[in-house]
Subunit: 344 residues, 2 copies
């Protein structure tokens, strides 16, 4: 089996991508990696590492898609870009099961829609990263920005896809699903979430009801369902607040001599915290609902983050997540038809 890795895109590209790929093939015996990008640069960089050379192949792609470009234009016209090449390979090569990129999120999502397509029955694929929770756990937030305007049926499918993902890939047998709302009571919410609430109630999932964003990271939920606009705001608020608290802590420490002295003894504790809060460690954000495994790694990914994301892609392929989501969509269609029949 193989994973294709878009080498150009992200702050530390191509070095982090190449180092991560080498670490991955050295650790993982059954999955090889295909790298797309400027072959001269990549081959030159690869020479620095020790690994079984047959396990990493390079496909030349001289162009790079930047964050500033229109995703649709870039996917349509930059046919020689590392991302489009990666998608072309993912689409045509049967032994390539998944794609990883740390490039422009918009281009990755657009490319997936235009080049790979949706699993039958899926109305809208969705971005579903993991966030750290208290005590070292994780929670899956779906959708984080792929769909900023949603109909209730989209969120219903988001919930089902995330349940399948958390079960098959992360071993959470009966994931606890919360609907992001403005209060925990059943009647709280806006027009969209009220409709979604009624729908989720009927699904054969462990639906815990409405939840408040202040409990997003308590560890009380395995999955948080939101439309892409709200999910994006939640995700970025977590990021911004964590950064703000850490920076305020730093300046509080620097403003006092005794605190500076005390901090010397706390380096390990601070590093542990930084590590726990570091979403780089939790791999990338899968684009659930795409016909093949597609994962977007953070733009700031370092080699460890790329390695973690490659492991995750590998697990998603091994667990046959795509087939799992397909089954869920068939079951949902049966359920909805049954409902409709019942109404008639």
């Amino acid at each position: 089996m193989k994973i294709v890795l878009d080498v150009f895109g992200g702050d530390n590209s191509p070095f982090a991508q190449i180092a991560g790929a080498v670490a991955f093939v050295n650790e993982q015996k059954n999955t090889d990696v295909v790298l797309t990008g400027d072959s001269e640069t990549i081959l030159g960089e690869l020479k620095k590492y020790k690994y079984e050379t047959s396990r990493i192949t390079v496909v030349h792609a001289p162009e790079v898609i930047s964050n500033e470009e229109s995703p649709t234009d870039a996917i349509r016209h930059k046919k020689e870009s590392s991302l489009v090449k990666a998608y072309d390979l993912l689409k045509t090569e049967e032994d390539i099961g998944g794609m990883l990129s740390s490039g422009s999120t918009g281009a990755v999502l657009t490319g997936s829609v235009l080049k790979i397509g949706r699993i039958d029955g899926v109305q809208r694929p969705a971005l579903a990263p993991l966030l750290p929770t208290r005590g070292g756990g994780r929670v899956c937030l779906i959708d984080c920005g792929a769909n900023v305007d949603c109909r209730p049926e989209f969120l219903e499918q988001f919930a089902l896809m995330a349940v399948c993902y958390m079960r098959r890939v992360h071993g959470v047998e009966n994931p606890r699903v919360g609907l992001v709302s403005v209060g925990v009571e059943d009647h709280k919410g806006n027009a969209l979430t009220k409709e979604v609430f009624a729908t989720l109630k009927k699904l054969p999932i462990n639906f815990m009801g409405n939840m408040e964003a202040r409990d997003a990271l308590t560890g009380d939920y395995d999955i948080l369902v939101a439309d892409g606009f709200v999910g994006n705001v939640l995700l970025k608020t977590v990021e911004g607040t964590a950064k703000m608290v850490m920076s305020e802590l730093k300046s509080a420490i620097l403003s006092s001599g005794s605190a500076k002295f005390g901090a010397l003894f706390m380096k390990k504790a601070f590093n542990k915290l930084k590590h726990d809060m570091d979403y780089n460690m939790y791999g990338g954000a899968p684009f659930l609902g795409a016909k093949k495994v597609v994962v977007k790694a953070h733009g700031a990914s370092n080699p460890d983050a790329i390695l973690a994301a490659l492991r995750q892609v590998n697990k998603m392929i091994e667990a046959d997540l795509v087939a799992g989501i397909k089954e869920e969509m068939v079951k949902l269609a049966d359920l909805t038809q049954g409902d409709a029949a019942h109404v008639e």
Copy 2:
């Protein structure tokens, strides 16, 4: 001038409210306080303090509205509750310029709408608390949950009301306004924010364009505009994330002997951070657009928080915020008419 304070409601009620009221009249020479609630309890508690007794009056209100009750039912039927009494006084007594409550947010908002009403021209009043930013600043987030389903015109008015508030009450001459979105580019957003973006562009305010939630607390904005659902999610995510980071830090410290030792030298730094992050210190959330000054204090308010919120109510009355917002609405109507005339 007088402020009416709903004494019953919130975790530390009535003690925090009474202590805060006493501290306020001892500090503030021109504004008296009227307390509503069970008079026996209040008078008994007041005996413990030293203050000019004529400056605090008590109006008996034996009932209490809880967080669990339907706000509309409670406001309609609990006529002897501390909140409804407070609103009755605010409505009828001319020398009472504002009301403060730390009770149920829903009941405070509903009470304001049913009992006090909106300033002419205001379509929807909105909750607008201040959040702490890096380096000890503040940012006003409007709306935080009063209006979960919004039309673009509502957000346009939110922006204008918040500008007036930040200018008159917090002395920010030309507040920088950001529209909460999923990216900083002009075209980013959902159907609602795209319309709002176009509207805000035309207003005579310092509109900085779309902003991302990760920059909410950087200090780059004085005002963040969002619909009440999104604003509520943002506010509660800040709260939950700050709590999570602090608790992870605590457990990282407790897990190491040397860190525990180091922490002894950092008590002051930690307390400074806790203080900076404590929204209790920033007073309550004003309900902008109501015909008189209405402020909701946090349910967990301690005496310091009540004192801070009373100062804020006082400042809002002195600055004649209500008149200011009224003027803004007249100007907006002229502007909109001008636009319409121009189109014709």
